[in-house]
Amino acid sequence: MASVNFGFGISKPRVIDIDRNNLRKSDEILLEMPELQTCIGCGSCTASCTAGNLTSFNFRKVHALVRRGEYAGAYEEMNKCMLCGKCRLLCPRGINTRGVVMLIKRKLGDF
């Protein structure tokens, strides 16, 4: 008998599972740019970001996810950045945010 489609599906778990995630890429990124780990999540970068004001791009969140080993989609997200450098003028931790975009793209490009 053909299976009946009741419209149910299995949701993908949204949990960030640090046991399952491979933090190797994240470690490599942080080794090259340890300053990225000093992010305090203030959101100035995202607030100033033109791309973020017009699209769903959230620079702060993307690199936070990368640091937790959540790489899927990060490269594509970072492609929305126009490299204008506004965020770098604001970051209170002095992080070279534009450099972060370049680094993540370089490290995850083959992902």
Binding site: I16, Q37, R68, E70
Partner: protein
């Protein structure tokens, strides 16, 4: 002018500093300490934030000075009640005096009350106080843990355990212990779970930055909701990584709870016997929070140290000086 007798209840850093300053001003301080030794809690700490000096470097010079100055010290004596002219000990002895400085400190929150974190149930759940002791005694596990979680605000800022206040020193203690762990176990991943990071003192924010920048300590904004054991003996923890808006979980080999400072149980009794006022937190309420922060609402009764609120050692030591000056000022006025 005769030296006036001032009883100091508690011989921690606050009590010792107060006594030394009173002696320097020509008065006669008497320290009453419940334990068999002076020093209070600081004696139990290993290296102190923010400079990583041994706690003995602070406590021992104070103890030595108390001895050299010939200050009267009663050890193993507990004060059960007092007013501004008389202090009563547990053995019934009474000591008459001209003023009292209450320096009996605070109490460490009992982590077992937060049952969801499994302290006292699972072997690999520790408090920050345990870690200080284990580090001091060289009893840290020999094998490097793979992953360690440090949880902030245990028994502070939590209505569920009737502790609304912030314990102030635990954030920086968490940063300090994270660095110590990374020095001991460079390969381990250390995660600090916080609600807010409060770096109030000189050099503290810089130390937080160092923990992130030089030691790769991970900071996750989110409170751990529960800890549960796994088959392999690890602890599984769950939290929300609020900065990404996603639930997060991981297994850890060690879970460290940054326990807060809460008000002493004695405070209620002391407040009743001496007619003092308590703050909502249960700590003693100072006359005001500006120029009168070492005075109580009663004449002749003064406060120094963590009896009024959580504080760092430096702040406590400053209060010891200020309270002695306030006491002398009061005594001089009394004698007209």
């Amino acid at each position: 002018m005769r030296a006036r007798k001032v009883v100091i209840i508690g011989g921690g850093v606050a009590g010792m500093q107060t006594a030394l300053r009173l002696r320097a001003l020509g008065e006669e301080p008497i320290i009453i300490e419940r334990e068999a030794q002076l020093g209070g809690k600081v004696r139990n700490w290993y290296l102190l934030f923010p400079t990583f000096i041994p706690s003995a470097d602070v406590v021992e010079p104070l103890m030595r000075a108390v001895k050299e100055q010939g200050i009267e010290v009663h050890l193993g004596c507990e004060v059960v009640q007092f007013d501004n002219h008389r202090v009563e000990l547990a053995d019934g002895e009474r000591i008459d005096c001209d003023a009292v400085a209450l320096c009996s400190g605070s109490t460490i929150f009992d982590a077992r009350l937060k049952e969801e974190y499994g302290y006292g149930i699972y072997d690999n759940v520790y408090t920050s106080v345990d870690i200080e002791r284990m580090m001091a005694e060289g009893r840290m596990p020999e094998r490097s843990p793979r992953r360690v979680a440090i949880l902030h605000c245990v028994g502070s800022r939590d209505e569920k355990v009737c502790q609304r206040h912030c314990s102030k020193v635990c954030c920086i203690t968490g940063v300090k212990q994270a660095i110590e762990l990374k020095k001991l176990y460079p390969k381990a991943d250390v995660f600090n779970f916080y609600m807010d990071i409060r770096m109030f003192g000189p050099g503290y924010e810089e130390l937080y930055h160092t923990a992130q920048r030089n030691y790769n300590v991970h900071f996750v904004r989110g409170r751990i909701s529960e800890a549960s054991p796994l088959m392999d003996g690890c602890i599984q923890i769950k939290a929300e990584d609020t900065l990404t808006g996603r639930p997060l979980r991981m297994s850890v080999d060690m879970l460290i709870l940054l326990v807060g400072m809460r008000a002493n149980d004695d405070n209620v009794r002391f407040a009743e016997s001496a007619g003092l006022r308590l703050a909502d937190s249960g700590f003693m309420r100072a006359a005001d929070l500006f120029a009168g922060n070492v005075r109580s609402s009663r004449e002749g009764i003064f406060y120094a140290g963590t009896i009024t609120a959580p504080k760092s050692i430096g702040e406590v030591l400053n209060e010891g000086v200020v309270v002695a000056d306030s006491i002398v000022d009061y005594l001089n006025k009394q004698e007209g």
